[in-house]
Protein backbone atom coordinates (compact mmCIF):
# COMPACT_ATOMS: atom_id res chain seq x y z
CA UNK A 1 0.00 0.00 0.00
CA UNK A 2 2.76 2.35 1.05
CA UNK A 3 6.29 1.77 -0.15
CA UNK A 4 9.21 3.91 0.94
CA UNK A 5 12.39 3.33 -1.01
CA UNK A 6 15.86 4.65 -0.18
CA UNK A 7 14.44 7.85 1.23
CA UNK A 8 17.17 10.35 2.07
CA UNK A 9 16.71 13.96 3.00
CA UNK A 10 19.32 16.63 3.52
CA UNK A 11 18.17 20.10 4.46
CA UNK A 12 19.53 23.22 2.82
CA UNK A 13 21.86 23.90 5.74
CA UNK A 14 23.52 20.51 5.29
CA UNK A 15 21.63 18.79 8.14
CA UNK A 16 20.86 15.23 7.14
CA UNK A 17 17.53 14.20 8.62
CA UNK A 18 16.96 10.88 6.88
CA UNK A 19 19.40 8.32 5.59
CA UNK A 20 18.20 5.62 3.21
CA UNK A 21 14.89 4.80 4.88
CA UNK A 22 13.11 1.74 3.53
CA UNK A 23 9.69 0.75 4.71
CA UNK A 24 6.74 -1.11 3.35
CA UNK A 25 3.27 -0.99 4.82
CA UNK A 26 0.37 -3.26 3.93
CA UNK A 27 -3.19 -2.04 3.55
CA UNK A 28 -5.07 -1.94 6.84
CA UNK A 29 -1.93 -2.10 8.94
CA UNK A 30 -1.21 0.18 11.89
CA UNK A 31 2.51 0.81 12.02
CA UNK A 32 4.15 2.80 14.80
CA UNK A 33 7.35 4.60 14.05
CA UNK A 34 9.35 5.27 17.16
CA UNK A 35 12.71 6.87 17.66
CA UNK A 36 14.63 9.28 19.84
CA UNK A 37 14.03 13.01 19.53
CA UNK A 38 15.61 14.46 16.45
CA UNK A 39 15.62 11.22 14.46
CA UNK A 40 13.87 12.76 11.50
CA UNK A 41 10.42 11.39 12.31
CA UNK A 42 8.71 14.60 11.33
CA UNK A 43 10.73 14.88 8.15
CA UNK A 44 9.68 11.35 7.26
CA UNK A 45 6.04 12.26 7.89
CA UNK A 46 6.27 15.38 5.77
CA UNK A 47 7.84 13.42 2.92
CA UNK A 48 5.08 10.81 3.07
CA UNK A 49 2.40 13.48 3.23
CA UNK A 50 3.86 15.13 0.15
CA UNK A 51 4.52 18.35 2.06
CA UNK A 52 8.22 18.02 1.44
CA UNK A 53 10.18 16.60 -1.44
CA UNK A 54 12.95 14.23 -0.33
CA UNK A 55 16.47 14.80 -1.58
CA UNK A 56 16.52 11.31 -3.02
CA UNK A 57 14.51 8.13 -2.92
CA UNK A 58 10.79 7.83 -3.42
CA UNK A 59 7.47 7.26 -1.75
CA UNK A 60 4.96 5.06 -3.54
CA UNK A 61 1.35 5.17 -2.48
CA UNK A 62 -0.74 2.44 -4.09
CA UNK A 63 2.09 1.95 -6.56
CA UNK A 64 1.96 5.57 -7.68
CA UNK A 65 4.95 7.78 -7.12
CA UNK A 66 4.09 10.58 -4.78
CA UNK A 67 4.87 14.07 -6.04
CA UNK A 68 2.05 16.11 -4.59
CA UNK A 69 -0.17 15.81 -1.59
CA UNK A 70 -2.29 12.75 -2.41
CA UNK A 71 -6.05 13.01 -2.17
CA UNK A 72 -6.51 9.82 -0.20
CA UNK A 73 -4.30 10.83 2.70
CA UNK A 74 -5.15 12.60 5.92
CA UNK A 75 -2.83 13.89 8.63
CA UNK A 76 -3.36 14.37 12.35
CA UNK A 77 -0.77 16.84 13.55
CA UNK A 78 0.59 17.07 17.06
CA UNK A 79 -0.31 20.72 17.48
CA UNK A 80 -4.10 20.55 17.32
CA UNK A 81 -4.52 24.17 18.41
CA UNK A 82 -2.77 25.35 15.27
CA UNK A 83 -4.02 22.76 12.84
CA UNK A 84 -7.70 23.36 13.62
CA UNK A 85 -8.92 26.67 12.25
CA UNK A 86 -10.07 28.84 15.17
CA UNK A 87 -12.44 30.87 12.96
CA UNK A 88 -14.48 27.81 12.00
CA UNK A 89 -16.83 25.87 14.21
CA UNK A 90 -15.91 22.29 14.98
CA UNK A 91 -18.40 21.08 12.42
CA UNK A 92 -17.01 23.34 9.70
CA UNK A 93 -13.47 22.32 10.56
CA UNK A 94 -14.42 18.69 10.02
CA UNK A 95 -16.55 19.43 6.97
CA UNK A 96 -14.36 21.89 5.09
CA UNK A 97 -12.01 19.32 3.50
CA UNK A 98 -15.03 17.44 2.15
CA UNK A 99 -15.63 20.18 -0.40
CA UNK A 100 -12.84 18.53 -2.32
CA UNK A 101 -15.04 15.48 -2.68
CA UNK A 102 -17.75 17.60 -4.24
CA UNK A 103 -20.13 17.20 -1.31
CA UNK A 104 -22.84 19.76 -0.77
CA UNK A 105 -23.46 21.56 2.49
CA UNK A 106 -25.91 19.03 3.83
CA UNK A 107 -23.76 16.03 3.00
CA UNK A 108 -20.75 17.71 4.59
CA UNK A 109 -22.69 18.39 7.75
CA UNK A 110 -23.93 14.86 7.94
CA UNK A 111 -20.46 13.40 7.39
CA UNK A 112 -19.00 15.77 9.97
CA UNK A 113 -21.62 14.86 12.53
CA UNK A 114 -21.06 11.17 11.91
CA UNK A 115 -17.30 11.55 12.36
CA UNK A 116 -17.77 13.60 15.52
CA UNK A 117 -20.02 10.90 16.92
CA UNK A 118 -17.42 8.24 16.21
CA UNK A 119 -14.84 10.14 18.26
CA UNK A 120 -17.28 10.68 21.12
CA UNK A 121 -18.13 14.34 20.50
CA UNK A 122 -21.71 14.26 19.26
CA UNK A 123 -22.59 17.66 20.73
CA UNK A 124 -19.48 19.67 19.91
CA UNK A 125 -20.35 20.61 16.33
CA UNK A 126 -21.56 24.13 17.03
CA UNK A 127 -18.67 25.05 19.26
CA UNK A 128 -15.36 26.53 18.31
CA UNK A 129 -12.20 24.46 18.77
CA UNK A 130 -10.83 26.84 21.40
CA UNK A 131 -13.87 26.22 23.56
CA UNK A 132 -12.79 22.59 23.94
CA UNK A 133 -10.08 20.99 26.05
CA UNK A 134 -6.86 19.83 24.39
CA UNK A 135 -7.92 16.20 24.29
CA UNK A 136 -11.26 17.12 22.73
CA UNK A 137 -9.54 19.28 20.14
CA UNK A 138 -7.36 16.37 19.13
CA UNK A 139 -10.51 14.25 18.86
CA UNK A 140 -11.86 16.87 16.45
CA UNK A 141 -8.66 16.62 14.42
CA UNK A 142 -9.08 12.84 14.31
CA UNK A 143 -12.73 13.27 13.30
CA UNK A 144 -11.63 15.56 10.49
CA UNK A 145 -9.22 12.91 9.26
CA UNK A 146 -11.87 10.16 9.55
CA UNK A 147 -14.54 12.15 7.74
CA UNK A 148 -12.10 12.59 4.88
CA UNK A 149 -12.12 8.79 4.49
CA UNK A 150 -8.46 8.47 3.62
CA UNK A 151 -6.84 5.20 2.72
CA UNK A 152 -3.77 6.32 4.65
CA UNK A 153 -3.86 8.29 7.89
CA UNK A 154 -0.63 9.81 9.12
CA UNK A 155 -0.38 10.76 12.76
CA UNK A 156 2.55 12.92 13.79
CA UNK A 157 2.95 12.55 17.56
CA UNK A 158 -0.80 13.01 17.84
CA UNK A 159 -0.98 12.48 21.59
CA UNK A 160 2.19 14.30 22.52
CA UNK A 161 0.47 17.40 23.88
CA UNK A 162 -2.23 15.92 26.08
CA UNK A 163 -2.14 14.60 29.64
CA UNK A 164 -1.57 10.92 30.41
CA UNK A 165 -5.21 9.98 31.06
CA UNK A 166 -6.42 11.68 27.88
CA UNK A 167 -3.59 10.06 26.03
CA UNK A 168 -4.79 6.59 27.01
CA UNK A 169 -8.35 7.48 26.01
CA UNK A 170 -7.17 8.70 22.63
CA UNK A 171 -5.06 5.57 22.09
CA UNK A 172 -8.12 3.44 22.70
CA UNK A 173 -10.14 5.69 20.41
CA UNK A 174 -7.56 5.15 17.71
CA UNK A 175 -7.77 1.37 18.13
CA UNK A 176 -11.56 1.61 17.90
CA UNK A 177 -11.68 3.65 14.70
CA UNK A 178 -8.84 1.97 12.89
CA UNK A 179 -11.20 -0.50 11.25
CA UNK A 180 -12.87 2.32 9.26
CA UNK A 181 -12.86 1.30 5.60
CA UNK A 182 -9.68 -0.72 6.01
CA UNK A 183 -7.72 2.45 6.63
CA UNK A 184 -3.94 2.17 6.93
CA UNK A 185 -2.41 4.14 9.79
CA UNK A 186 1.12 5.35 10.31
CA UNK A 187 1.72 6.69 13.78
CA UNK A 188 4.88 8.55 14.70
CA UNK A 189 5.66 8.73 18.39
CA UNK A 190 8.55 9.02 20.79
CA UNK A 191 6.64 7.05 23.43
CA UNK A 192 7.82 3.42 23.46
CA UNK A 193 4.78 2.12 25.37
CA UNK A 194 2.43 3.80 22.96
CA UNK A 195 4.20 2.44 19.91
CA UNK A 196 3.80 -1.13 21.19
CA UNK A 197 0.29 -0.66 22.58
CA UNK A 198 -1.36 0.62 19.41
CA UNK A 199 0.83 -0.89 16.71
CA UNK A 200 0.66 -4.05 14.66
CA UNK A 201 4.29 -3.43 13.97
CA UNK A 202 6.90 -1.13 15.48
CA UNK A 203 9.57 0.48 13.34
CA UNK A 204 12.55 1.79 15.31
CA UNK A 205 14.48 4.67 13.81
CA UNK A 206 18.02 5.55 14.73
CA UNK A 207 19.12 8.96 15.89
CA UNK A 208 19.73 11.45 13.10
CA UNK A 209 20.27 10.88 10.33
CA UNK A 210 17.20 8.67 10.72
CA UNK A 211 17.55 5.15 9.47
CA UNK A 212 15.39 2.07 10.10
CA UNK A 213 17.19 0.17 12.83
CA UNK A 214 14.69 -2.59 13.38
CA UNK A 215 11.14 -3.68 12.65
CA UNK A 216 9.33 -5.68 15.29
CA UNK A 217 6.02 -7.43 14.85
CA UNK A 218 3.70 -6.83 17.79
CA UNK A 219 2.44 -10.24 18.77
CA UNK A 220 -0.34 -9.23 21.10
CA UNK A 221 -4.04 -10.11 21.05
CA UNK A 222 -5.89 -7.64 18.88
CA UNK A 223 -8.28 -6.85 21.75
CA UNK A 224 -6.16 -4.42 23.81
CA UNK A 225 -6.69 -3.01 27.25
CA UNK A 226 -4.75 -0.22 28.89
CA UNK A 227 -4.11 -2.25 32.05
CA UNK A 228 -4.30 -5.91 31.06
CA UNK A 229 -2.34 -5.62 27.82
CA UNK A 230 0.43 -3.63 29.43
CA UNK A 231 1.04 -6.36 31.99
CA UNK A 232 1.29 -9.20 29.48
CA UNK A 233 4.78 -10.72 29.40
CA UNK A 234 4.83 -10.27 25.61
CA UNK A 235 4.13 -6.53 26.01
CA UNK A 236 6.76 -6.08 28.69
CA UNK A 237 9.27 -7.99 26.64
CA UNK A 238 8.57 -6.05 23.46
CA UNK A 239 8.68 -2.75 25.23
CA UNK A 240 12.06 -3.61 26.72
CA UNK A 241 13.36 -4.61 23.34
CA UNK A 242 12.27 -1.38 21.68
CA UNK A 243 13.75 0.53 24.60
CA UNK A 244 17.02 -1.32 24.27
CA UNK A 245 17.15 -0.62 20.55
CA UNK A 246 16.64 3.10 21.13
CA UNK A 247 18.92 3.32 24.16
CA UNK A 248 21.54 1.13 22.57
CA UNK A 249 21.53 3.46 19.67
CA UNK A 250 22.05 6.37 21.99
CA UNK A 251 24.89 4.82 23.96
CA UNK A 252 26.54 3.34 20.88
CA UNK A 253 26.93 6.84 19.54
CA UNK A 254 27.77 8.14 23.00
CA UNK A 255 25.65 11.19 22.56
CA UNK A 256 24.89 13.13 25.67
CA UNK A 257 21.28 14.05 26.13
CA UNK A 258 20.66 17.57 24.96
CA UNK A 259 19.04 19.99 27.29
CA UNK A 260 16.62 21.67 24.95
CA UNK A 261 15.22 19.04 22.68
CA UNK A 262 13.02 20.26 19.90
CA UNK A 263 9.38 19.23 20.20
CA UNK A 264 9.38 18.20 16.54
CA UNK A 265 10.89 14.73 16.36
Amino acid sequence: MLEIKNLTHVYGDGFQALDDVNLSVKAGELVSIVGPSGCGKSTLMRCIAGLQRPTSGEVLLDDARLDQVPGNLAVVFQDYSRSLFPWLTVRDNVGLPLRRHGKNRQERRRAAQEALESVGLPDAGQKYPWQLSGGMQQRVAIARALAYRPSLMLMDEPFGSVDAQTREDLEDLLLRVRGHDGMTILLVTHDIDESVYVGDRVVVLTRSPGHVRAELAVDLPSERDQVATRELPAFVHLRAEVGRLIRGDLSARSVSVEAGESPQG
Partner: protein, 291 residues
Amino acid sequence: MTIRTSPAGRTVTGPAARSRTRHVGATWRFGGWALSRIWLIIGLGALWQILARAADNPYFPPPSKIFPIVHDLWFSGPAGHLFLTSKAGDDFTPSLTHIFAGWIIASAVGIVIGVALGRSRAASEFLNPLLEFGRAIPPPTLIPFFIIVFHITDSMFIAVIVFGVIWPVLLNTIDGARTVDSLQLDTAKVFGISGWQRLWRVILPAAAPKIFAGLRVSLSLALILMVISELVGATAGIGDHLVNAQRSFELPQMWAGIVLLGILGLLFNGVFVLVERRVLAWHRGALRNEG
Protein backbone atom coordinates in the same frame (compact mmCIF):
# COMPACT_ATOMS: atom_id res chain seq x y z
CA MET B 1 -16.03 39.34 38.06
CA THR B 2 -13.93 37.69 35.45
CA ILE B 3 -14.62 35.55 32.41
CA ARG B 4 -11.36 33.71 32.51
CA THR B 5 -11.82 30.12 33.59
CA SER B 6 -9.12 27.57 34.15
CA PRO B 7 -8.66 24.95 31.41
CA ALA B 8 -9.86 22.27 33.81
CA GLY B 9 -12.90 24.32 34.74
CA ARG B 10 -13.71 24.77 31.10
CA THR B 11 -14.01 21.07 30.48
CA VAL B 12 -16.11 20.42 33.53
CA THR B 13 -18.58 23.29 33.38
CA GLY B 14 -21.70 22.60 31.33
CA PRO B 15 -22.15 24.67 28.19
CA ALA B 16 -25.35 26.35 29.36
CA ALA B 17 -23.88 27.41 32.70
CA ARG B 18 -20.79 28.65 30.98
CA SER B 19 -22.60 30.79 28.44
CA ARG B 20 -24.72 32.26 31.20
CA THR B 21 -21.66 33.13 33.22
CA ARG B 22 -20.08 34.64 30.17
CA HIS B 23 -23.19 36.66 29.40
CA VAL B 24 -23.47 38.06 32.90
CA GLY B 25 -19.76 38.73 32.89
CA ALA B 26 -19.99 40.56 29.59
CA THR B 27 -22.86 42.75 30.80
CA TRP B 28 -20.96 43.63 33.92
CA ARG B 29 -17.85 44.34 32.00
CA PHE B 30 -19.68 46.52 29.51
CA GLY B 31 -21.35 48.44 32.33
CA GLY B 32 -18.02 48.99 34.03
CA TRP B 33 -16.40 49.97 30.77
CA ALA B 34 -19.14 52.48 29.90
CA LEU B 35 -19.09 53.95 33.40
CA SER B 36 -15.35 54.44 33.37
CA ARG B 37 -15.50 56.18 29.99
CA ILE B 38 -18.50 58.33 30.79
CA TRP B 39 -17.07 59.35 34.13
CA LEU B 40 -13.99 60.72 32.45
CA ILE B 41 -15.96 62.54 29.75
CA ILE B 42 -18.28 64.16 32.28
CA GLY B 43 -15.35 65.19 34.43
CA LEU B 44 -13.43 66.73 31.55
CA GLY B 45 -16.56 68.46 30.24
CA ALA B 46 -17.17 70.01 33.64
CA LEU B 47 -13.54 71.14 33.85
CA TRP B 48 -13.79 72.65 30.38
CA GLN B 49 -16.97 74.50 31.35
CA ILE B 50 -15.42 75.91 34.52
CA LEU B 51 -12.18 76.99 32.86
CA ALA B 52 -13.92 78.56 29.84
CA ARG B 53 -16.32 80.43 32.11
CA ALA B 54 -13.50 81.68 34.27
CA ALA B 55 -11.44 82.76 31.27
CA ASP B 56 -14.43 84.52 29.71
CA ASN B 57 -12.56 84.75 26.42
CA PRO B 58 -14.42 84.96 23.08
CA TYR B 59 -11.91 82.54 21.56
CA PHE B 60 -12.82 79.84 24.06
CA PRO B 61 -16.60 79.67 24.43
CA PRO B 62 -17.80 77.28 27.17
CA PRO B 63 -19.43 73.95 26.20
CA SER B 64 -22.75 75.31 27.46
CA LYS B 65 -22.59 77.68 24.49
CA ILE B 66 -21.15 75.25 21.96
CA PHE B 67 -23.47 72.29 22.41
CA PRO B 68 -26.71 74.22 21.89
CA ILE B 69 -25.21 75.48 18.63
CA VAL B 70 -24.30 71.94 17.56
CA HIS B 71 -27.89 71.02 18.31
CA ASP B 72 -29.41 74.05 16.55
CA LEU B 73 -27.26 73.82 13.45
CA TRP B 74 -27.54 70.12 12.71
CA PHE B 75 -29.77 68.18 15.09
CA SER B 76 -32.92 70.26 15.55
CA GLY B 77 -34.69 69.03 12.44
CA PRO B 78 -38.06 67.27 12.22
CA ALA B 79 -38.40 63.76 13.61
CA GLY B 80 -39.20 62.49 10.13
CA HIS B 81 -35.67 63.44 9.09
CA LEU B 82 -34.12 61.77 12.13
CA PHE B 83 -33.91 65.24 13.70
CA LEU B 84 -31.43 66.35 11.08
CA THR B 85 -31.73 69.91 9.82
CA SER B 86 -31.43 70.81 6.15
CA LYS B 87 -28.01 72.26 6.92
CA ALA B 88 -27.06 68.85 8.29
CA GLY B 89 -28.03 67.36 4.95
CA ASP B 90 -25.98 69.97 3.09
CA ASP B 91 -22.93 69.54 5.33
CA PHE B 92 -23.01 65.81 5.98
CA THR B 93 -23.91 64.48 2.56
CA PRO B 94 -20.76 65.58 0.70
CA SER B 95 -18.46 64.93 3.67
CA LEU B 96 -19.79 61.46 4.43
CA THR B 97 -19.84 60.57 0.74
CA HIS B 98 -16.19 61.51 0.47
CA ILE B 99 -15.05 59.74 3.59
CA PHE B 100 -16.88 56.48 2.97
CA ALA B 101 -16.29 56.30 -0.78
CA GLY B 102 -12.60 56.96 -0.15
CA TRP B 103 -12.30 54.55 2.75
CA ILE B 104 -14.20 51.74 1.04
CA ILE B 105 -12.27 52.04 -2.21
CA ALA B 106 -8.96 52.19 -0.32
CA SER B 107 -9.94 49.18 1.79
CA ALA B 108 -10.98 47.05 -1.17
CA VAL B 109 -7.90 47.91 -3.22
CA GLY B 110 -5.62 47.60 -0.19
CA ILE B 111 -6.92 44.17 0.78
CA VAL B 112 -6.80 42.77 -2.76
CA ILE B 113 -3.28 44.03 -3.48
CA GLY B 114 -2.17 43.27 0.06
CA VAL B 115 -3.17 39.60 -0.12
CA ALA B 116 -1.54 39.24 -3.53
CA LEU B 117 1.71 40.78 -2.30
CA GLY B 118 1.61 39.04 1.04
CA ARG B 119 1.40 35.63 -0.59
CA SER B 120 4.26 36.37 -2.95
CA ARG B 121 7.52 36.99 -1.17
CA ALA B 122 9.28 38.00 -4.37
CA ALA B 123 6.65 40.58 -5.34
CA SER B 124 6.47 42.15 -1.89
CA GLU B 125 10.23 42.40 -1.57
CA PHE B 126 10.44 43.89 -5.03
CA LEU B 127 7.74 46.46 -4.38
CA ASN B 128 8.61 47.20 -0.76
CA PRO B 129 10.75 50.31 -1.44
CA LEU B 130 7.95 51.72 -3.56
CA LEU B 131 5.40 51.08 -0.81
CA GLU B 132 7.60 52.65 1.83
CA PHE B 133 8.05 55.69 -0.40
CA GLY B 134 4.34 56.01 -1.09
CA ARG B 135 3.56 55.74 2.59
CA ALA B 136 6.15 58.37 3.48
CA ILE B 137 4.51 61.05 1.32
CA PRO B 138 2.24 63.14 3.56
CA PRO B 139 -1.14 62.79 1.81
CA PRO B 140 -2.14 66.49 2.11
CA THR B 141 0.79 67.45 -0.12
CA LEU B 142 -1.02 65.75 -2.97
CA ILE B 143 -4.11 67.94 -2.63
CA PRO B 144 -2.77 70.61 -5.04
CA PHE B 145 -1.94 67.91 -7.56
CA PHE B 146 -5.34 66.26 -7.29
CA ILE B 147 -7.03 69.67 -7.60
CA ILE B 148 -5.24 70.19 -10.91
CA VAL B 149 -6.16 66.72 -12.13
CA PHE B 150 -9.76 66.51 -10.90
CA HIS B 151 -10.61 70.19 -10.18
CA ILE B 152 -12.90 70.69 -7.20
CA THR B 153 -15.04 67.58 -7.68
CA ASP B 154 -16.03 64.64 -5.54
CA SER B 155 -13.33 62.67 -7.35
CA MET B 156 -10.69 65.03 -5.99
CA PHE B 157 -11.73 64.59 -2.36
CA ILE B 158 -12.09 60.85 -2.77
CA ALA B 159 -8.69 60.57 -4.47
CA VAL B 160 -7.01 62.41 -1.59
CA ILE B 161 -8.63 60.08 0.94
CA VAL B 162 -7.90 56.91 -1.05
CA PHE B 163 -4.27 57.80 -1.45
CA GLY B 164 -3.91 58.76 2.17
CA VAL B 165 -5.65 55.87 3.88
CA ILE B 166 -4.71 52.93 1.68
CA TRP B 167 -1.33 52.42 3.37
CA PRO B 168 -2.36 51.06 6.76
CA VAL B 169 -4.75 48.60 5.09
CA LEU B 170 -2.24 47.58 2.46
CA LEU B 171 0.73 47.12 4.76
CA ASN B 172 -1.28 45.33 7.45
CA THR B 173 -2.85 43.02 4.90
CA ILE B 174 0.55 42.19 3.42
CA ASP B 175 1.82 41.40 6.89
CA GLY B 176 -1.26 39.37 7.80
CA ALA B 177 -1.26 37.35 4.59
CA ARG B 178 2.46 36.70 4.83
CA THR B 179 2.42 35.48 8.41
CA VAL B 180 -0.31 32.86 8.13
CA ASP B 181 0.71 29.98 10.39
CA SER B 182 2.66 27.40 8.38
CA LEU B 183 0.78 24.56 10.05
CA GLN B 184 -2.53 26.07 8.96
CA LEU B 185 -1.22 26.19 5.40
CA ASP B 186 0.08 22.61 5.66
CA THR B 187 -3.32 21.54 6.94
CA ALA B 188 -5.01 23.23 4.00
CA LYS B 189 -2.59 21.53 1.63
CA VAL B 190 -3.04 18.06 3.11
CA PHE B 191 -6.82 18.33 2.98
CA GLY B 192 -6.93 19.70 -0.54
CA ILE B 193 -8.16 23.16 0.38
CA SER B 194 -6.80 25.17 -2.53
CA GLY B 195 -7.50 28.10 -4.81
CA TRP B 196 -10.38 30.35 -3.77
CA GLN B 197 -11.28 28.07 -0.87
CA ARG B 198 -7.79 28.49 0.53
CA LEU B 199 -7.95 32.25 0.09
CA TRP B 200 -11.43 32.66 1.48
CA ARG B 201 -11.45 30.05 4.25
CA VAL B 202 -7.85 30.09 5.41
CA ILE B 203 -5.73 33.07 4.37
CA LEU B 204 -8.26 35.88 4.73
CA PRO B 205 -9.57 34.73 8.14
CA ALA B 206 -6.03 34.19 9.37
CA ALA B 207 -5.06 37.68 8.25
CA ALA B 208 -8.32 39.26 9.42
CA PRO B 209 -7.13 40.50 12.83
CA LYS B 210 -4.33 42.46 11.20
CA ILE B 211 -6.53 43.64 8.34
CA PHE B 212 -9.07 44.98 10.80
CA ALA B 213 -6.37 46.83 12.73
CA GLY B 214 -5.39 48.49 9.46
CA LEU B 215 -8.99 49.31 8.55
CA ARG B 216 -9.51 51.00 11.89
CA VAL B 217 -6.47 53.23 11.56
CA SER B 218 -7.56 54.06 8.01
CA LEU B 219 -11.02 55.09 9.10
CA SER B 220 -9.76 57.68 11.55
CA LEU B 221 -7.21 58.85 8.99
CA ALA B 222 -10.01 59.19 6.43
CA LEU B 223 -11.87 61.60 8.73
CA ILE B 224 -8.74 63.74 9.06
CA LEU B 225 -8.11 63.83 5.32
CA MET B 226 -11.75 64.57 4.60
CA VAL B 227 -11.55 67.72 6.72
CA ILE B 228 -8.16 68.80 5.42
CA SER B 229 -9.19 68.44 1.79
CA GLU B 230 -12.45 70.27 2.44
CA LEU B 231 -10.65 73.08 4.25
CA VAL B 232 -8.58 73.59 1.14
CA GLY B 233 -11.14 73.40 -1.57
CA ALA B 234 -14.70 72.65 -0.61
CA THR B 235 -17.84 74.56 -1.43
CA ALA B 236 -19.92 72.29 0.79
CA GLY B 237 -19.36 69.91 3.67
CA ILE B 238 -18.18 70.10 7.24
CA GLY B 239 -14.79 71.51 6.24
CA ASP B 240 -16.58 74.24 4.32
CA HIS B 241 -18.65 75.05 7.41
CA LEU B 242 -15.43 75.48 9.39
CA VAL B 243 -13.92 77.80 6.79
CA ASN B 244 -17.09 79.90 6.63
CA ALA B 245 -17.26 80.17 10.40
CA GLN B 246 -13.64 81.25 10.46
CA ARG B 247 -14.16 83.91 7.77
CA SER B 248 -17.16 85.40 9.51
CA PHE B 249 -15.35 85.18 12.85
CA GLU B 250 -18.11 83.09 14.42
CA LEU B 251 -16.02 81.23 16.93
CA PRO B 252 -18.85 79.33 18.65
CA GLN B 253 -19.90 78.03 15.21
CA MET B 254 -16.35 76.98 14.51
CA TRP B 255 -16.10 75.19 17.83
CA ALA B 256 -19.40 73.51 17.04
CA GLY B 257 -17.85 72.14 13.85
CA ILE B 258 -14.84 70.86 15.79
CA VAL B 259 -17.06 69.16 18.37
CA LEU B 260 -19.17 67.68 15.59
CA LEU B 261 -16.07 66.12 14.03
CA GLY B 262 -15.14 64.66 17.38
CA ILE B 263 -18.60 63.16 17.71
CA LEU B 264 -18.42 61.72 14.19
CA GLY B 265 -15.01 60.20 14.90
CA LEU B 266 -16.31 58.60 18.08
CA LEU B 267 -19.36 57.30 16.26
CA PHE B 268 -17.37 55.78 13.38
CA ASN B 269 -14.94 54.14 15.73
CA GLY B 270 -17.73 52.82 17.94
CA VAL B 271 -19.61 51.24 15.04
CA PHE B 272 -16.36 49.84 13.67
CA VAL B 273 -15.47 48.25 16.99
CA LEU B 274 -18.92 46.67 17.19
CA VAL B 275 -18.54 45.13 13.74
CA GLU B 276 -15.02 44.00 14.51
CA ARG B 277 -16.13 42.30 17.71
CA ARG B 278 -18.71 40.35 15.79
CA VAL B 279 -16.49 39.36 12.90
CA LEU B 280 -13.47 38.59 15.05
CA ALA B 281 -15.32 37.01 17.96
CA TRP B 282 -13.35 33.81 17.32
CA HIS B 283 -10.09 35.67 17.63
CA ARG B 284 -10.95 37.18 21.00
CA GLY B 285 -12.19 33.83 22.21
CA ALA B 286 -9.11 31.97 21.03
CA LEU B 287 -6.80 34.53 22.64
CA ARG B 288 -8.69 34.35 25.90
CA ASN B 289 -8.48 30.58 26.06
CA GLU B 290 -4.84 30.38 25.10
CA GLY B 291 -3.44 31.10 28.54
